[in-house]
């Protein structure tokens, strides 16, 4: 099981802040994860519609979409940041 966490409008559109999920072995990178989640329903498809905009963090560090997710304990998906 992998813990997924969502923030801002990604969280709002998916309709939850976090979940534990069993990822198929074919999901090797952050990009694979986005593609897989989009198959789980309309909410996911809407939230992750513009894939390139979605930022991914593994174990609380930013990663590129093509980086392997390997043994990630926690994967976060969120929009571009607007703090400060």
């Amino acid at each position: 099981m992998t813990k997924l966490v969502y923030f801002a409008w990604v969280r709002e559109r998916i309709g939850k802040g976090e979940e534990e999920i069993d990822l198929p072995a074919s999901v090797r990178t952050g990009g694979d994860l986005l593609a897989y989640l989009k198959t789980l329903g309309e909410d996911y498809a809407h939230a992750l519609e513009h894939e390139k905009v979605i930022r991914i963090a593994i174990n609380q560090e930013h990663v590129e979409h093509d980086e392997p997710i390997l043994d990630a304990r926690e994967i976060a998906l969120f929009p571009p940041m607007t703090g400060g």
């Binding site: 923030f7 801002a8 963090a57 609380q60 976060a76 969120f78 940041m81 607007t82 703090g83 400060g84």
Partner: protein, 155 residues
């Protein structure tokens, strides 16, 4: 070596006291010639806005600001740095973020504080939602390209 340099990072709902933080950072130092304090405030955008609501990624927000601060300490040979970011609902005129950089000379202190803000804006996991003065809930603030350019100017 950033090991001995004080790096203070906090994410909190309550307000901060910029003067007290600066005093704490510079206390007892006789090698510091410059303190630059940046305070980010909530604007009302010409009366349109009643509040900003700040969401963050607990754990990663602190970790990422810490990484940015340590990079700044290394790059500008800072003597100390403090970064505090508020979350929750913030009204116009209120504080959002505080960055204080301590250095022997002024340009390092200015660059250090400015560098931390430019990276904090674009890589620390915080998101702003607008609440409008007419009572309606606005949308999520869009990231600005000008902020990406500001960050890239440091590389």
């Amino acid at each position: 070596m950033t090991g001995d340099v004080p790096v203070v990072v906090r994410v909190q709902t309550e307000d901060f006291d910029a003067a007290a933080e600066a005093a704490r950072l510079a206390a007892g130092r006789r090698d510091a010639g410059a303190v630059v304090t940046f305070t980010g405030l909530c604007r009302d955008e010409g009366g349109r806005l009643s509040a900003l609501e700040l969401e963050h990624y607990p754990g990663m927000a602190e970790a990422e600001i810490g990484r940015i601060c340590r990079k700044a300490v290394e790059r500008f040979s800072l003597l100390g740095i403090t970064a505090i970011h508020r979350v929750g609902k913030i009204a116009p005129g209120e504080n959002i973020v505080l960055v204080i950089a301590l250095a022997p000379h002024r340009h390092a202190a200015f660059d250090g504080a400015s560098f931390v803000m430019d990276f904090l804006k674009t890589s620390a996991p915080f998101w702003k939602k607008e609440h409008f003065a007419d009572g309606s809930e606005g949308g999520w603030v869009d990231a600005k390209e000008s902020d990406d350019r500001a960050r890239e100017a440091w590389s």
